[in-house]
Symmetry: C7
Subunit: 74 residues, 7 copies
Amino acid sequence: MDPERPLDALNAARNKRVIVELKNKSQILGKLKAFDIHINVVLDEAEEHENGTMKRRIGNAFIRGDAIVLISPA
Amino acid sequence: MDPERPLDALNAARNKRVIVELKNKSQILGKLKAFDIHINVVLDEAEEHENGTMKRRIGNAFIRGDAIVLISPA
Amino acid sequence: MDPERPLDALNAARNKRVIVELKNKSQILGKLKAFDIHINVVLDEAEEHENGTMKRRIGNAFIRGDAIVLISPA
Amino acid sequence: MDPERPLDALNAARNKRVIVELKNKSQILGKLKAFDIHINVVLDEAEEHENGTMKRRIGNAFIRGDAIVLISPA
Amino acid sequence: MDPERPLDALNAARNKRVIVELKNKSQILGKLKAFDIHINVVLDEAEEHENGTMKRRIGNAFIRGDAIVLISPA
Amino acid sequence: MDPERPLDALNAARNKRVIVELKNKSQILGKLKAFDIHINVVLDEAEEHENGTMKRRIGNAFIRGDAIVLISPA
Amino acid sequence: MDPERPLDALNAARNKRVIVELKNKSQILGKLKAFDIHINVVLDEAEEHENGTMKRRIGNAFIRGDAIVLISPA
């Protein structure tokens, strides 16, 4: 299925593991549980990664949309 | 319960201890008392941490939403 | 009283001394006289502090909301 | 008179000399002639100061609100 | 066909390979699948490039509009 | 005439030479031809100045409002 | 014809060659094909220039408005 709108692509990723890249350069990996039109997202089983290695386990993470650059499958 | 929307996850964290990561790199730990759609938040018994050590006790803290990157359980 | 909404916490701080931390790293201390939904605030008897020492007396200070990171009791 | 809202404080400063601190660290001193809800302001007899010394006379200055951090009496 | 409005040009690029340049200087190449008025975009078969060499394969990428500078044909 | 609102001051400057200071530190001098509520402005016979010397002639310049810090008479 | 509003000046530049200066300091030259109220623009036969020399040919370029500082005739 081709997404008609960008949020369709996020919807298709719900409950799947994604990488969220932040403007501050860190990467948060986790299972996408929720998002809204501001691209605020909630990840479950989240981990912060930097340069390919895990820095810390975060658990449940609410990320503010305007801190986000890119979301892709993990 | 899975959050349908990101703010549901913040609502579930109300009265629990959270870590609020800021764009300026500092972390504020405290009990989440209130939030709104701008992600302005109020923490109680708040402390500022940096690199894993407590820098200062803040007490009651109002944090402006656009300064926030990530909110997670403490 | 627990604040239901973040602005309730600012309302409870009216006429009390607060520390306003700015994105530019300086801290303004003063008595909170007014605020609005943009978190524009007015402080009375305001002083600018840096690294724990007072840099200058400001008197009455209008601070633009989007310059603010955090507001807490002084 | 206590300001109920932050813009009341700006209104009380109309036609008085103020210091406008900018995000780019410079300070503009001048007589406050006009402002609006975006905190765009107009100063008359304006001067740019840096580290306590006058850098140049500007005359009439329109300052865009989102460049402003703080406005206080001169 | 000349685009009347900028989004017409993005519409004409749908399903074609594009380069998306980000404010953080990296370039994401991929097939444009979706976009909206915020210029949030979704790319398929996406790759991150830096200084002309591919850094990593991303697959499906949601890019937040406000992180984007420029979109052009690959 | 005292400006009631900040845009009145810009209106009074129409067809006069102004200095537009940008967030990126450069100064654009030129005759103010048009502006809008976002403070997007158009200058005619515009020149870019840096540290008091002219860097280049621009001619007709459209400047996006959010890049602007201050507008004053040249 | 004097532009009444800033977008009139962009309209007059349609199908002419312009220089678009970006907040990231690069310059994009090309023929202005489309723009909107956010100052999103589309250029044709676009080239990226830096310090007066061409860095690369871009062809058709969609530039997000908030990345733009200034648009002028090439």
